[in-house]
Structure formats: C-alpha cells, structure tokens
C-alpha cells in the first residue's frame, strides 16, 4: 500500500504529460464560436453592387447557405476564391459579406475573379462583423433553412476543409429542408 503511494507523483506526471501532449496538436487560433446554434444576427446593410438595395436576413430566403466573410485586403481570400467559385457552380448558395472594404475595389475584385455570391452584403464599418464575432477574414458560416448558424470556419475553406467540415452537414441540412 505504502509503496504504491510512491507512484502517485509518477502517475500525476504521466497524466499531465499526456494532457499537454494532446494539447500540442490543437490550433490555438481555433476559438470556440459563440454563434453556432444561434440565429444569424439581424442586419440591414447595403448590397455591394446595388447601393440602393438594402439586404437583411430576409434575403436568405429560407435557404441553406454559406455566408463568406471576405475583403480585398485579405490575402487568404484570394486562395479561397476559386473553390467558392466551383462550389457556386455546383449549386451551393453563397452569400458574400464584404468586410471593411471599399466598394469599388471589391466590385473590381469580383469582376476579375468571378462572383460566386448570390448577393453581397457591404459592411464597410464591420458592424455585422462585430455581431458575428468576426476577427479575421476569411470566415465562413453555414446557415440552415431556419436561419440558424450550424457551423463556422475561421480561415480558408478549400476542397479539403469543405469535405472534412462542411459537405456532410450541408447535404444533411439540404435534405432536411427539402423534406419539409
């Protein structure tokens, strides 16, 4: 009995070591999201291409869709863009959120690289950004037909990330929406 107690520090070290070892692989930039499971925040902002048009969550039209936060100053957005284009071609509805940007620059950018967005929310001061808890572009939100945020990705969504994090959930949400 007494001899066994001698192993307690060893066991503790082992436990701590295991815990720390598995924490190593975690990405410290991967913050927990406060929004998953919550409704997409209300907003009323101008459309990027049509300044006279106000857009809001009503324009989501009860569709399962992605909201992609991007900006022309965001380098990773360039890397991400081709995959968004190809998703849009496959029929995935994507709404753009142009975040803290200039209208003209953003319009030119989409002209040049293709516009995968069904419409683009223009948020030059980042007000919707704060409501979403955006802390860096690109970010992508998967919103279900009820307008609930179901998944959030901070960083680039490319084919690998799509297949790992989005595809199955997206398909499931679309199936659910169609069943109703």
């Amino acid at each position: 009995m007494n001899r066994l107690t001698l192993f307690i520090p060893f066991a503790l070290c082992l436990a701590l070591g295991t815990f720390l070892f598995f924490s190593l692989g975690k990405d410290p930039l991967d913050l927990p999201s406060a929004l998953v499971g919550e409704p997409f925040p209300d907003f009323a902002l101008e459309e990027l291409h049509q300044p006279e048009r106000q857009v809001s969550t009503d324009d989501f039209d009860s569709q399962v869709l992605l909201v992609n936060v991007w900006a022309t100053w965001c380098f990773a957005c360039r890397i991400e863009h081709p995959w968004l284009n190809s998703l849009a071609k496959d029929g995935v509805v994507i709404v753009g959120l142009n975040y803290k940007d200039h209208r003209k620059l953003a319009q030119d950018w989409l002209q040049e690289r293709g516009d995968p967005y069904q419409f683009s929310i223009f948020d030059p001061r980042g007000v919707l950004g704060i409501d979403l808890g955006v802390y860096g572009a690109p970010e992508t939100y998967l919103v279900d037909a009820e307008g609930i945020v179901r998944h959030r990705r901070v960083g680039v969504v490319d084919e690998r990330v799509w297949n790992e994090e989005f595809r199955d959930l997206y398909q499931q949400l679309v199936d659910e929406a169609n069943a109703e």
């Binding site: 913050l31 927990p32 999201s33 980042g126 704060i130 808890g133 802390y135 860096g136």
Partner: protein, 168 residues
C-alpha cells in the same frame, strides 16, 4: 576590458529604458472623448480585461490590430449607451465567446482553473503537515526506543573496530 564593457552596459540600460518607456507609450490607445469623463476609468478597466481575439496574448488596450480598434470603439459606444460593465462583457461574450474575457467566469469548463490553486495549496499543506508529523513521531521514537539491541550494538562495535581488510 572592464573599461570597454562599462559604457556599453550604460548604453544597454539606456536602450532598455527607452524600450520600456516607448512600449508603455505605445500601449496607450487612440484618443477617445466621452460625453461624461466618469466613463473613462471604466473604459480603461474594460480594455484591460478584454482580450484581443486576433492577438491572443494581448488585451484590447495593448493591441493595435484592426479588430482591437473596432472593439475599443464598440466598448466606447456601449459605454455611452449606458450599459453596465457586466452588460458590455456579456454583449461581447455573446459574439466572441468567453475567450474574450481575460478573467473567465466560473463554469463547467473553468471551475478546475479557479479551484486548482486552492486545491493545490490545501493538498500541499496536508502533505507538509503529514510529513512534519511523521518526522516528529520519528524523532520522539528515536529518543525513547533504542534503535539497536545490545546484541546488534556489540556486533556493530566489533565490525567498526576490526582492522581494515580491504574488501572494497
């Protein structure tokens, strides 16, 4: 040698002092004006306690990233709207998750963090108490009870007094 080292040490100190002063000078955030000056201390306090989501080891007061600037403006706006400190923290927590609070609330994920220091101090105290008791007990036993029997003592003396045989 010595003379060449000394001035450079002085220089080092100066540079160090400069860096120290300039870094605190840089930590001062943008010029803000309040409708009511009594909001300013609360503003400063909140910036100290809120974490920049993008630059994880800095608070909003220290960080000059774009998101921190936005959040500072947001905190100011909310203060002007007469929200309490708790309401402002909740507002940001609902958007940026609990991560934004440098002083996390006690809940299922953080209770261990909060309890660990107390638990460790109590545990350490108990262990120390036990050890010192055991030692005391050992000491008193040593005084009362002969460690070796007479027979053992005799054998020991014999061994110690016997001439060296060079067995080692």
């Amino acid at each position: 040698m010595q003379s060449s080292v000394r001035p450079s040490l002085g220089l080092l100190k100066q540079v160090g002092l400069f860096l120290l002063l300039s870094s605190t000078a840089m930590a001062v955030e943008d010029v803000v004006s309040f409708s009511d000056e009594s909001l300013r201390p609360r503003y400063q306090q909140l910036l100290q306690e809120l974490r920049c989501p993008k630059c994880q080891n800095q608070n909003l007061a220290d960080s000059n990233s774009a998101i921190s600037q936005d959040l500072r403006a947001e905190v100011q706006r909310l203060l002007e709207q007469d929200l309490s400190d708790t309401e402002i923290k909740d507002y940001l927590k609902n958007r940026y998750s609990e991560f934004i609070l440098y002083r996390p609330e006690v809940n299922r994920a953080t209770w261990f963090l909060w309890a660990a220091p107390v638990v460790l101090v109590v545990l350490g105290g108990l262990i120390m108490l036990r050890l010192s008791r055991a030692k005391k007990l050992g000491d008193s036993q040593e005084a009362d009870i002969p460690v070796r029997s007479a027979d053992q003592q005799q054998r020991l003396d014999k061994l110690l007094n016997s001439p060296k045989q060079g067995t080692d």
